[in-house]
């Protein structure tokens, strides 16, 4: 499911970045790599702030929907 649907403050794992050209590369470089832990910090009409590694990244809705996540096992 897309990260926009995640529960706030619950760590999840990144599954896949749906391709959106150069933005995919950009996200990957920020640490959005499959299997990485990510936590949703705040949500605002689909715009999100999430925690990845030790940083907080703000992402707008269209972009956030490309980040697919899986529950942590």
């Amino acid at each position: 499911m897309p990260i926009t649907m995640a529960e706030i403050n619950k760590p999840m794992l990144i599954g896949k970045i749906k391709d959106k050209g150069s933005v995919k590369t950009y996200l990957e470089k920020l640490g959005f790599i499959p299997g990485c832990e990510v936590t949703l910090v705040a949500k605002q009409n689909g715009n999100i702030i999430c925690k990845i590694k030790e940083s907080r990244i703000a992402i707008n809705r269209d972009m956030a929907k490309c980040i697919l996540i899986n529950p942590k096992i």
Binding site: N9, K20, S22, V23, K24, T25, Y26, L27, E28, K29, L30, G31, I33, P34, C36, V41, A42, K43, Q44, N45, N47, I49, K51, I52, K53, E54, S55, R56, I57, A58, I59, N60, R61, D62, M63, K65
Partner: protein, 709 residues
Amino acid sequence: MKIRIALTGNPNSGKTTLFNALTGSAQYVGNWPGVTVEKKEGRYRAQKEVTIVDLPGVYSLSPYTLEEVISRDYILEEKPDAIINIVDVTNLERNLYLTTQLLETGIPVVIALNMMDIFNKSGDKISIKALSQRLGCPVLPISALKNDGLDPLMKTALELANQKKKFEAVHKFHPTVETALDKVEKILYHNDNANKDLRWYSIKVFERDDKTLKKLNLPRDIVKDIENIIHNAENLLEDDSESIITGERYELIEDICSAVLQKKQTGLSVSDKIDRVVTNKWLGLPIFIFVMWFMYFISVSTIGTIITDWVNEEFFEVIVTDAATSFLESAGAAPWLLSLLVDGIIGGVGAVLGFVPQIMLLFFFISILEDCGYMARVAFIMDRVFRRFGLSGKSFIPMLIGTGCSVPAIMASRTIEQDRDRKMTIMLTPFIPCSAKIPIFTLMAATFFPRNSLVAPSMYFLGIAMVILAGVLLKRSALFKGDPAPFVMELPPYHLPRPKGVLIHMWEKGKSFIIKAGTVILAGVIIIWFLQSFDWSFQMVETDQSILANIGHAISPLFAPLGFGSWEASVSIFTGFLAKETVVATFGVLFGIAEATEETTGLYPHIAALFTPVAAYAFMAFNLLAAPCFAAIGATKREMGTWKWTFIAIGFQTGLAYLVALVIYQIGSAIFYGTNITGAVIVSALIVGAIVYLLFKAYMENKKAVAQN
């Protein structure tokens, strides 16, 4: 021997703080990513023959943003003797990504492990020795802010630079990737460009990096061979080559981090808790509006006014003017000299300097907001609003800088990746009132709306509203059609504002305001004084027969429909192009009193006679929106690149300013003073109707687009 050392690192990792500490300069530092957009050079304090280059913050060396291109080109083309890689130890994993790339360039790297003080407080542990071993380069702990560990860092960097040895990276990737890279290396070995930094080029070619491929200009059959190798690896690892390398790097880093880092488990940080509130869906925007109002209320309406009044009434009006007058009279100076010094220079420049306390206070608050990390959140909050109208929240960062001065703001638009969004931001940024426009607003607000604390900050909101409105209008034109670029931005952690940092910021910004008063504005008032004292045959005359009055009368009909058709007001608009403070300074010179600031009783009746309150508001709005000062027009030209775009920008700004002022004056007069409905009023009403329609349509279309998504 000349030595060059480059500072690189992630955005907001403290490069500029370190640069300032090493070179003793005072470059701008801010708590959000992307403050440094251009490389800056300085000399090392202890050894002047050593040049230190501060590069823009980047997450990687791939050419995705302009900053990345600048940093990458410098490192690869100009080959500094050594690189100091600043790594924020509190966010080690992400920061090491760039490090792994830097290590491959062949240039000696020293890692400066920054923010050690914060890290130590958190209770986490790191083995610096192990980290240095794993990366194969020296690692030194520092705190750039507290000046800790800088000497050993520079000593190591200089040693490495003097050795002039080529650096070999020690880290390796997955065997499948390494096999592929080996094969690419063997092919590239015969290329003269690539065989100098074989490891770097083979990785870049493997990633299909456009710029590298273009530079190497490989023959077609070789490209085909390499493409086969890449394809093979991609099939084996089931991803595209660039993502493979990115993944490999993070794999490697994770491995390193788990070996060298000992982390305490932490829950929700304070930053997260604050973010919950300030970026809240419902509270975010009202909090922002309140913060802005409060800032203006303190610095412009209440405390600022008290201090400014004292400076004006006690200092300039009484002390300086009296002293200068009596001195000149006793020295037997000619009346024209007395007039030049007292009316012209003290009147004009003093009018501007009187605002220094207010400006300083305003900068004080803005500096606090910047330093603590709130400004980056504002971009996020505004993205939601802006996107509704087809703009990106990223455009808001240059606009925030624009509260100080439009020139650095226009330059800051470089952080916007998309050309279309960037051009539009350059055009719209000057709508945000810069510090130079504040004297105009406070003068007008205090003369006509003395009891209303909302009039001055309302210019802020009018500016933002116009950015949105103009954004919608521009998006309709063929020049700017298209979706705004996605918004991805790192939010820095909150920290308490540091008094030293805030005061330095405040002083740096305030200083340029004062310097401007002593240079551009001084020259301006001398010219204005001359023009208003002489007629065309260079005889000293009364003001209303002067050259200036002549010019003013010639252009004033243009502004009559806006409510400020007096020649004085018309002239001040033109002198405003020199620098916006000159608008107030012009009134100061024109009315021949030594002081022209808002509380001066001498100026009150003069200004009050020129405008009605509605016309005064229209005048404020016109000055807010019309073409900026020469310096900002110059910056627009530099960033736009062509005169054509520069003229489009200026024309658009001035045209919009004219329309807005027209609408405010005509409709405002009809409502408040019951003036007759004339053609101008009807035209204005039609403009408003058209704008509302366009806004509504854009809003609905974006809503539909969002719903469809």
